[in-house]
């Protein structure tokens, strides 16, 4: 495995001085008018506002570590997850990741509602980098884990949120990830399924996978993660053992 100057192989995720600005433009969507203004004045037109900024994010997550991302709505947890995943490009700084990645960020994000569960598996698995043969081989596992029975042949528009969650999670687990990024997905499943997911997550943790977990369910965060990060207004304000960070979070409210 090639080594870079800053990253040791035992790191799974490294963020180095990462910042990210999010802009929106006050004029309805982008337009040619705005483009002209920008070209003529040679700088961003006044119609563009920065509405959120994440800055000074240095983060090192070792292989096998499980980290809970905590914080209020709009504190930047999901954006941080997307930066780690490589979906958002940071404005500055460096992001490195080792190993195979699986994500469940928005439930059933890649699903098509007109197609059946079984027809949706291939696409969602392949977008996480699985090859045809791997997908074929893991379909029995996915079906067994999702426990959808005959509903797997029904178009997804007839699925409940919980059923979608089962399928999405089952596919993500089939990737056999080295790094698993989860965003508030366990909450929608029923008790039995939640338990099963937690069991499976424990399993891949034992195999040395790295977990980054966003949740408002502090109990499950405490159960799954020994380290927690508290975010506020796009910054990391606490980073340490879950118990301590949870306390800081409770006090800070």
């Amino acid at each position: 495995m090639p080594k870079s100057s800053r990253t040791e192989p035992e790191d799974a995720i490294l963020l180095d001085g990462v910042s990210k600005s999010f802009h929106y433009s006050s004029h309805r969507d982008g337009s040619v008018r705005e483009w002209f203004i920008r070209k003529l004045t040679g700088r961003p037109s006044r119609a563009t506002y920065e509405f959120f900024r994440m800055s000074g994010i240095d983060l090192r997550i070792a292989r096998g570590e499980s980290v809970a991302l905590l914080g209020d709505n709009g504190s930047g947890k999901s954006s941080l997850l997307r930066i780690i995943a490589g979906i958002y490009t940071p404005t500055s700084g460096r992001v490195e990741r080792y190993g195979r990645l699986a994500t469940v960020l928005e439930l059933g994000a890649g699903f098509h509602s007109a197609l059946s569960g079984i027809e949706n598996i291939g696409l969602s698995a392949s977008v996480m980098g699985m090859r045809h043969r791997e997908i074929e081989e893991s379909i029995p596992d996915i079906l067994a884990f999702a426990e959808l029975g005959d509903s797997i042949r029904v178009p997804l528009k007839y699925y409940s949120t919980g059923m979608r969650a089962r399928l999405a999670f089952a596919i993500a687990m089939a990737v056999q990830p080295d790094i698993l990024l989860l965003d508030e997905v366990l909450a929608v499943g029923d008790q039995a399924f939640q338990k099963k997911c937690i069991g499976r997550i424990r399993g891949i943790q034992a195999d040395g996978a790295t977990l980054v977990y966003v949740s408002h369910d502090l109990e499950s965060a405490a159960k799954l993660c020994d380290r927690a990060i508290l975010m506020r207004e796009g910054r990391i304000v606490e980073d340490g053992p879950t118990g301590r960070v949870l306390q800081a979070y409770e006090i800070g409210r």
Binding site: G30, V95, L105, L123, S126, G129
Partner: protein, 272 residues
């Protein structure tokens, strides 16, 4: 397991970008299959719609240009079908490119993958439809127009490949610009209408005044149609000039399109 995935940092080179897309080829295949499945799942006529739409358009053009405005081309129907379907492919694919990223926003916002794959999948899905059309057109022309099998027909796969490259190059630019500027969606149908009239779909290049013909042939779509018409209508090899111009422009458009997308596509996930 591989080395680090550096998510940002140094700009992707053409080779590393291509390798990244190649790694996601299974995803591309699934996306194409899904596009086709979804499109025809709910309709009774299924694939029939793919044909019905261009055939109606074709009938209108045929009626207008043989009965109202008489264009002096022998076997006009055979001439018209030779270029029309390629035009139809370009038109539909580019219009689709303006919304393809929005169509796949769930994937784009939630999974790290080279988002240009959605553009590729759009162009390839439509190419499946086009291939069926071109097989039908070829059969009809061989049976009723040539009544033999001219050798230049072997060139068709090459023309289709060049057409795909050209259209993907253009689509990449249309797709990424559409994300930043809504205006493209309003402007594009007008541009495509203009392109229809300045490309020899329903008339031959011979009818273009010689004084502007050089400029006229700078349009790569014109070169593409000229090549199709040589093969399908005349049953002859396209001129080396046309073929060379088409090859060159397809490659250039593809590379430029890929470079434009690579430069500006990074923010697509948060804007779309």
């Amino acid at each position: 397991m591989s080395g680090p995935t550096t998510v940002n940092g140094s700009r992707e080179t053409f080779r590393s970008g291509t390798a990244r897309i190649w790694r996601y080829r299974a995803f591309l295949v699934h996306l194409v299959v899904r596009n086709i499945r979804v499109k025809y799942r709910a309709s009774i006529l299924g694939f029939g719609w793919t044909l019905l739409n261009p055939i109606i358009m074709l009938s209108i053009l045929l009626a207008v240009f043989t009965h109202i405005i008489k264009i002096p081309i022998e076997h006009y129907w055979a001439f018209l079908v030779s270029g029309f379907f390629a035009w139809n492919y370009i038109n539909q694919t580019l219009n689709h490119a303006a919304q393809v990223l929005e169509e796949h926003d769930g994937l784009v916002r939630n999974y790290p993958f080279p988002t240009e794959i959605t553009v590729y999948s759009g162009a390839i899905s439509k190419l499946v439809e086009f291939s069926i059309e071109i097989v039908l057109v070829t059969t009809v022309l061989l049976l009723f127009h040539h009544k033999s099998i001219p050798l230049p027909f072997v060139l068709l796969p090459v023309l289709i490949a060049l057409q795909l490259m050209l259209v993907i190059g253009l689509s990449l630019v249309v797709a990424v610009v559409s994300v930043y500027y809504e205006d493209v969606k309003h402007m594009l149908p007008l541009l495509l209408m203009a392109l229809f009239y300045v490309s020899p779909v329903f008339y031959t290049v011979d009818l273009v005044p010689e004084s502007v013909r050089t400029v006229f042939l700078l349009n790569p779509v014109a070169q593409l149609l000229v090549c199709y018409q040589s093969v399908l209508y005349h049953g002859t090899m396209p001129s080396i000039e046309s073929l060379a111009a088409l090859t060159l422009s397809s490659v250039v458009f593809f590379i430029v399109g890929a470079a434009v997308y690579r430069k500006h596509g990074g923010l697509v996930a948060e804007i779309v």
